[in-house]
Symmetry: C2
Subunit: 198 residues, 2 copies
């Protein structure tokens, strides 16, 4: 049996998706051809369109279809505050808290020397120019509280403080609603050290 | 933050892939836009091309880019033998054994009443016309030895025998190299009942 070359090409191309091995790719290709050609055509169009249109915002580095994204163009926001996040999803989470009305910079990643992800991969040069525009007064680091996120925050903090900027970090502590019995010891220890006068 | 609509469209379209939920779809979309636009463009082309070109073989029902596939057009094969398999992958496995030189019919599925997959979904009408062409003498059922595969084989067997065809089934038994201690009791029981005079 010889498989048709279009099907082989599709199976091979599906393997470019992260986390998809040869078996899954073949199952997906068969599924699309057998049961969902409309979906396959739609995905094909979506990919071409995204490749053509999606770029990085010149100011905040997030995905946008314009040179500068809507958030960066929002005149209601405080341009003196710049919040640094790892991903567009993280930015969305912070927006949903309604506690931050400044602007953002999206690293599109985190430092991870073991995976070969260095300062260039998280667009540190772009962040430095953005943060030193003379308008930004404070950079709020909102990378994740994982080892890599913490290391990224530390590296960015040192770099920006050396340029005279005020740099802050989201507070660590016991989560709202958290019962001490179920919170890990490291979090409690940090909350104790960072305890605030009431 | 408003996501660009091309990215939303892509994320939504990726969810048409089997087994891909909203989180995976977003991760894939970000990955493609951030790290592999070439892969995204290639997958887009592969999908469009497959939708345009891949069809079902008029004789054996497998995927092909022509009206009739290469296997069905192979004059070296014995047209009196027709082997019924569930998927193109199963056909490939049988081809690799070099034990069968007849033709095939690919169901592209198996009967599964609980999933709403009935005789029409496995192209039973097409199989009946194919098997009753006056040339086919024996239909070899090579569906899987799962509950669904067995039920599919039984249903097809009854249908084709009623039309006067000889129908056979791949033999069950202890696998080659199988040690009895590690083979399940059901397999051994079946091998005992099907024992052959040597
Ligand atoms: Zn922006
Ligand atoms: Zn064929």
């Amino acid at each position: 049996m010889k498989s048709p070359s279009s099907l082989d090409f599709l199976t091979e191309a599906l393997r470019r998706l992260p986390g998809i091995g040869p078996k899954s790719a073949q199952r997906m290709a068969y599924h699309l051809m057998q049961h969902d050609r409309e979906g396959a055509a739609m995905l094909g169009r979506a990919l071409s369109q995204a490749v053509d249109r999606v770029q990085h915002c010149a100011m905040c580095n997030t995905f946008t279809e314009h040179d500068v994204c809507e958030t960066c163009l929002d005149a209601e926001r405080n341009p003196a505050l710049l919040c640094v996040v790892e991903t567009p999803g993280d930015q969305l989470m912070i927006e949903q808290t309604l506690t931050f009305k400044g602007l953002y910079f999206v690293l599109m990643g985190r430092l991870s020397p073991l995976d070969g992800i260095g300062p260039k991969d998280i667009h540190l040069d772009k962040l430095i120019s953005r943060a030193t525009d003379g308008i930004v007064q404070e950079v709020v680091l909102a990378t994740n509280f994982t080892n890599e996120g913490e290391a990224t925050a530390h590296y960015i903090s040192e770099t920006l403080k050396a340029r005279g900027l005020k740099v802050s970090r989201l507070a660590r502590g016991v989560p709202v609603g958290g019962e001490l019995e179920y919170v890990d010891a490291g979090t409690i220890a940090r909350a104790m050290l960072d305890r605030r006068t009431t």
